[in-house]
């Protein structure tokens, strides 16, 4: 085979690969928006399954408090530790409280909480719906004249979207407390000054925009998890693939959308 023919073959194979991946990407996006649209369509339709909503809210919200709380508290603690050591060099230790509270409320608490929930809930949504798909439970719902998106996905997406903001509010508080405990307890910062500086530059808008981001992340991660689970194929192996893909994709979309949301909100 001549070198030009080989080059042509390689170029064709590369283009084929790009084409296949592009189609797959659009397919994935199409499924995500389909589930998002259908969730909106079925959201206020009867029958309203209050028990399911409540069960999912407990699962996403109450059961996630320890993991989100610990993450936020230790993040606040390590931030105080790091910034205190850094700010000490130019005698700006007094501003550690401001840095910790602003970065937590605006950025770290919503993003880290969303990533933790993507791991905890996004994966379990994909696994749960995926195994329901491969064991024909989703077909059974259709057969019983019940729309699976209405019965399964609406309560899960609504619960995750509604519970992320209160979780992030908890994370804000615990993170700020963690920072305070380290700065005052370990670094001998003045407690009154630290507390004052924590709230001096903190605006309500900082907190609220963080909570809005949290709700958006909740929507994104739950729709991603549900989409991956709902369109699972290929038995137990498929469920495993969907679960991994749900976490990876939700985490990526959270981090990417974080930039755009931050640009939009601040």
């Amino acid at each position: 085979m001549s070198s030009s023919a080989r080059l042509l073959q390689t170029a064709r194979a590369t283009l084929d690969g790009v084409g296949v991946r592009t189609v797959a990407l659009f397919e994935e996006a199409g499924r995500f928006f389909y589930i998002l649209y259908q969730t909106g369509y079925w959201l206020f339709r009867r029958p309203f399954d209050g028990r399911q909503w409540l069960r999912q809210m407990v699962r996403v919200g109450v059961d996630s408090i320890p993991v989100v709380g610990l993450t936020a508290m230790f993040t606040g603690m390590v931030m105080a530790l790091q910034t205190y050591r850094g700010f000490e060099r130019f005698h700006a230790e007094a501003y550690v409280g401001s840095v910790v509270s602003l970065s937590l409320t605006r950025e770290l608490a919503p993003v880290l909480a969303a990533l933790m929930i993507a791991g905890r809930i996004g994966s379990s949504l994909a696994a749960e719906l995926g195994s329901m798909r491969v064991t024909e439970q989703i077909d059974a719902l259709y057969a019983m004249a019940t729309e699976p998106i209405h019965y399964l996905i609406v309560p899960r997406v609504a619960a995750t979207t509604l519970m992320l903001p209160p979780l992030v509010a908890c994370a804000d508080g615990l993170g700020i407390f963690g920072g305070y405990a380290v700065a005052v307890g370990l670094m001998d910062a003045n407690p009154v000054v630290y507390w004052e500086k924590t709230f001096q530059y903190l605006d309500l808008n900082d907190v609220f925009s963080g909570l809005i981001k949290a709700a958006a992340f909740g929507l994104i991660l739950s729709v991603t998890g549900c989409t991956k689970g709902f369109f699972t194929g290929g038995g137990a192996e498929g469920v495993g693939r969907s679960t991994t893909a749900a976490v990876v994709m939700a985490s990526l979309v959270i981090l990417i959308s974080d930039f755009f949301l931050t640009k939009l909100l601040f």
Binding site: S131, T135, E136, Q137, Y142, A143, M144, A145
Partner: protein, 262 residues
Amino acid sequence: MDPTPTPAPSPAGTPKIAVTDLWKSFSGKPVLRGLTVEVASGESLVIVGGSGAGKSVFLKHLIGLIRPDRGRVVVDGQDLGSADPTLCLELRKKFGMSFQEGALFDSLDVFENIAFPLRRHTRMTEGEIADRVRECLELVHLSGVERKAPSELSGGMRRRVGFARAIAMKPEILLFDEPNTGLDPITSAVIDNVIVEMREHLPVTMVTITHDMKSAFRIADRVAMLRDGVLIATAPPDEFRRIPDPYVQKFIAGEPLEEELA
């Protein structure tokens, strides 16, 4: 507000289910190739065929779980393909379907599984629901399992709970997807008896797919053989046994085809 569309009742003389020239392919591979069959009201039709013959795909077309590439599925005079989604949901209420492994909801116990369609589609009180669940469980010869989780049941019991859930809404048509697969011969015979009894006690039309010939002869009014996406033979059980087609005879005898041995 628009009233909920009600499916029209079956006109006298028309078949309960009429499938005409049904075609379906997956990834370019044809599974159903112009399948045509009619099921009369109150009849029990059993479709037999080998693995991959398209039995499950056919059954899922009947309830609108899969849309055909071409052809029509008409239930009580209503075309499932052209029905709007609300009417399609209403039409599904005429069906009860039992899935291969039961497809019971893992998160609900047996009672809640059977009560599911009742809670969803009726305004029955808790007492009425409990009575109906007990009645359905009695019909499939199960009792004392109401509070068990599906994972605590044996394969045969799970199928029977699946049957109980399928009949909870008093459907007009019952569909059974391989009710005996993976069961020992005795449990399999119990399942067949339950199906026959259900048929005697309930005014239903039944469509069952299976590859178990013994079971087919026990529960069928008419047996149809599906091969490569088309029905190659349809007859009442006694006549079916005498059909001279070599494939049908090999299938009944459970012997390999010459072409598969070559």
